[in-house]
Symmetry: C2
Subunit: 308 residues, 2 copies
Amino acid sequence: MSSSTHGIAFSKGHGTQNDFVVLPDPDASLDLTAARVAALCDRRRGLGADGVLRVVRWAKLAGSGVSTGTGTGTGTGTGTGTSGVPDPEPGAEWFMDYRNADGSAAEMCGNGVRVFARYLCDRGWGGQGPLGTRAGVRTVAITGSGADTVVSVGMGPARIGAESATVVDGVTFGGVAIDVGNPHLACVAATDPDGLDLTRAPSHDPALFPHGVNVEFVTPVVAGPGGDTVRMRVHERGVGETRSCGTGTVAAVVAALRAAGREVGDVAVATPGGTLRVTVEPGATTLHGPAELVAHGELDRAWWDALR
Amino acid sequence: MSSSTHGIAFSKGHGTQNDFVVLPDPDASLDLTAARVAALCDRRRGLGADGVLRVVRWAKLAGSGVSTGTGTGTGTGTGTGTSGVPDPEPGAEWFMDYRNADGSAAEMCGNGVRVFARYLCDRGWGGQGPLGTRAGVRTVAITGSGADTVVSVGMGPARIGAESATVVDGVTFGGVAIDVGNPHLACVAATDPDGLDLTRAPSHDPALFPHGVNVEFVTPVVAGPGGDTVRMRVHERGVGETRSCGTGTVAAVVAALRAAGREVGDVAVATPGGTLRVTVEPGATTLHGPAELVAHGELDRAWWDALR
């Protein structure tokens, strides 16, 4: 088709059903506006995804936007999405320019970075080792191959905060605030998480979480033949229930270990979207899980150009 | 990427935000199982769509499945989706093998056939004139180009049936049964359709609609400077509210004209997904509207092969 010869290259993939459009843009030449991201992520009029992962050489972004050191995602921005990009760090060639489905820039996404690394690996562009994100450098390891590929990513420390609570359908769940670069309220309860109605946002203490919070419901740790396991469901702020959430999985495991009187451990987490594993060590957490690429192609150039 | 060189070709497009994965398969060689359709249409782990449009030469399907004459979609099937395929008719080279998101075969889709025709046209494979569907031959005309392309498709006669009613949130709406190849209950009411809660299925009379029904809420015809217009929302059986529905749009216009004491007319229909136009003539209806192709590419072969 003539229009595809000059289209915008993309891949579509997911990590435990948290799904992304990958846009390879090594030279940072793509004019990736918020409107284009939103149209692309729209599940009817676009391709559909939870977010966009722009694959860009970190050095190419330097000087193109507002550099805010280690990056908090709160930079003043240029409107083309280079806001909050930290200065490049040695050894990290690639930067994950992550955008939410509404077009806004975001710091980090534990499932997104695995899909991002898998893309680099399949493409022969690396994927192992350090990667740049708005939350700083993340280190990735890939093991296995094909359908058995497991991508592990260092998620940094998880900081335990105050105890709090949430109410779902009139039932109160006690939980604990956990910061994994973004705020979580992780509630450990023996209640079957499948029975919860998460179609509406669980309540939260606005004094403790002034910018909202992601809420996890996680079962206590059970020791099995294959190791420790929990089950989890998550409600993401501004999104609703999702089938999986990388940072939420980390928060859930930290909370479940804490409820068992433990500070470290290695726990498999069954989410509605699939199974992840989290390793908690002193001052560090690692998320392990699958990352699948489903399709590769080109966005119609006329469609893209009609968006601004 | 190596995997893309042997992938399964696809395009993604939509008609007033009713979206489809197009699979070009001229020689009917694709093993398109229900599991593959369902995975492909899954909006997280697949590409995501309301349905799949397999583009296949009608003659290639002959003898490959169960031929049931004019096709009702209730054929006994072979498991590979050629159930209910009518015998090829002269002049119609292409057949739209339409599958619902759950993998089942379906007769017709007014928005799907427009995307199908647009695909053929862009590809240089025709697109104008007669096309085969499980509901028989449909005739297509394409006018304009680029973003202004309008695809018109003959939708056959709309048969007016008995009066009936539905209840939404305790409020009763009177309507009329209309058969457009599939069953509709079209309710004309001055109520603002935007105010209706369609998160649950509107009720229906199971004696009149033993296999369920699509329910439309349509405003009375208003004459404007650009012609007659109505607004519509639709709840599709087995799906929920959709942003648009081709046959539902036809049913809505027939009902709105009937409520105005008219049997023919040409009416623009504003749906949540965009604007369509319906021409009603004695014994025939035509649906006019946009059809956009968003992306073209290849499904990952390993991903496809892992499904059966």
